[in-house]
């Protein structure tokens, strides 16, 4: 046979873009906790840079970088709501902010996860510092729980450590300080203005 034996067709399907969660999170939460990953490890939740410096072996610069990376990750992955009141219904009064890109609301990051094993081994591991959120919906069974962006409950607020899936520490890109943009693309732009800019294709061939 000269062709690919199998292709996972469902994986190739481009389902419509995921709409932000609008309903109460709690229903989704129950399902996720049941299928939670078996390979777990201990993590601590660090709330601020100072907290990070005192609780881990990381330096202040490393804690600062970790904090920033968690904030970016939070912006990207936190549950999003159409209105502030919908968000506050689940995360509590004054616990929500508008997204940086605007138009949506998300809870403030309550802190970020640092792996205890990695931290003991000499601290900074340049990986991902995933944000966590503090769920506060009175009378919900998840009230006062700490959850990751995908809605997985990892424990009660204020625990000294949490058992979390190993994927919580998967390396993600390092965050840097961008000082300029737009240094690539000028040749393409000059060439595409040729012929009145009606060029159809891209820059592949």
């Amino acid at each position: 046979m000269k062709k690919s034996k199998t292709i996972n067709i469902d994986m190739m399907r481009k389902t419509p873009r995921k709409v932000p969660r609008l309903g109460p999170l709690a229903a989704a939460v129950a399902a996720i906790t049941l299928t939670a990953c078996s390979s777990k490890e201990e993590a601590i939740v660090v709330e601020t840079v100072d907290d990070c410096v005192s609780k881990t072996t990381m330096t202040r610069e490393q804690c600062d970088a970790a904090y920033k990376s968690a904030l970016v990750e939070a912006e990207r992955t936190a549950p999003k709501y159409r209105s502030r009141s919908q968000c506050e219904a689940e995360f509590g009064y004054s616990q929500c902010q508008s997204t940086r890109s605007g138009g949506m609301f998300m809870p403030f990051m309550a802190g970020y996860l640092v792996s205890q094993v990695m931290s003991n081994r000499g601290g900074y591991y340049g990986g991902t510092y995933n944000p966590v959120f503090h769920y506060q919906r009175p009378y919900s069974s998840h009230n006062n729980r700490i959850m990751t962006a995908d809605g997985t409950v990892i424990g009660r607020a204020g625990q000294s450590s949490y058992r979390v899936g190993k994927s919580s520490f998967k390396p993600k890109p390092k965050v840097t300080r961008t000082v300029s943009r737009g240094g690539f693309g000028s040749v393409a732009s000059a060439k595409s203005s040729w012929g009145g800019g009606k060029r159809s294709g891209g820059w592949g061939g």
Binding site: M1, K3, M12, V175, F184, S186, A188, S189, G201
Partner: protein, 394 residues
Amino acid sequence: MLRIPIAERAGWQQKAEEFGFKFHTMHGERYWDESAYYQFTLEQIEKGIEEPTEEIHQMCLEVVEKVIADDELMRRFCIPEKHWDLVRRSWKNGDPSLYSRLDFAYSGKGHAKLYENNADTPTSVFETGFWQWLWLQDNVDSGALPRHADQFNSLQEKLVNQFKDLKFLTPDRTLHFACCKETDEDRGTVQYLEDCAKAADIDTRFAFIEDIGRDPEGNFSDLDDNMITWMFKLYPWEFMFREEFGDYLGGNNIRWLEPPWKSILSNKALLPLLWKMFPDHPNLLPSFFEDELSLASDYDSLVKKPIFSREGANISIINQQSDIVKAKGSHESSGPYGEEGFIYQATHMLPKFGEHYTLIGSWLVDGEAAGISIREDSGPITQDMSRYLPHIIL
């Protein structure tokens, strides 16, 4: 090799949308064309295309080896001197590549003839690896084609496997994918490759070329300020070399796909050098640098190609007797390329099937032949709007 009409699948356009294939029709003209398919024998595929593809790829690597070691050739290939180090280092380090596509004129008989090597930014990879595969599957399922109909197309399988190897060689890095804004075709191509990388369990992100930033140390970043350490760019090296951020290339620790040494292969200067190093090779067309045209006096007609050109732009077919007479209409394509000079290739017309000129793109993943794509045009120069047709082996 036959061109056989076939009924189009009912509702394929909707299916295309479901799979994110947005550019099947561009500017009201069909690009994906399943009103017919090409049929090959296994021998035509294996002896006619697969073997020459792998052999020529090895020959191309010998060309890189030679050019890298020779300043004069680096100049001939129009690699800016300030980037010689980057290109040389990437070759000497053995930076791995992902894929390339060799374009051939092949009629099913005789030797396939190499037109060019799209080694840096080949496209139509989604249409090949996935969409024509699905077309065959659907037509076999519906009984329109026999169950034993095969296709020369292990492209997706090989891409995923190559990404697995690349992940092993590049542990703990996120792979950024990039292309230019405002082109559905490039965006679709890059999305497909990103899907293949994800299937290999690689962490991926996307950035538009125009949005790439730099930090004070000269590292590149995406819109979320994530540092870029590994990047697939569907954007030509020869452009990047000449742009503002080109100055930072080599100073930062980025692994590139395709690697910088591919700039030597995606360059039409490859063709005359191949001809010099492997004269009279049955799969090569005689090709000449502009200042060596005296060597080409035996050939009545030559094809003039810019050193850098994409999608058939700025190519003309010229006649030796009448100086450089630009042939009329369809024999000369217009476009924005040519300032770096030209090469000349002995004219060898594409085979015609009915009214259609047919070009075969032969894919390589790493060094292995991985399948073909077929493009058709009403004129003899295949361009970006030439139609894509599926094929089978029977």
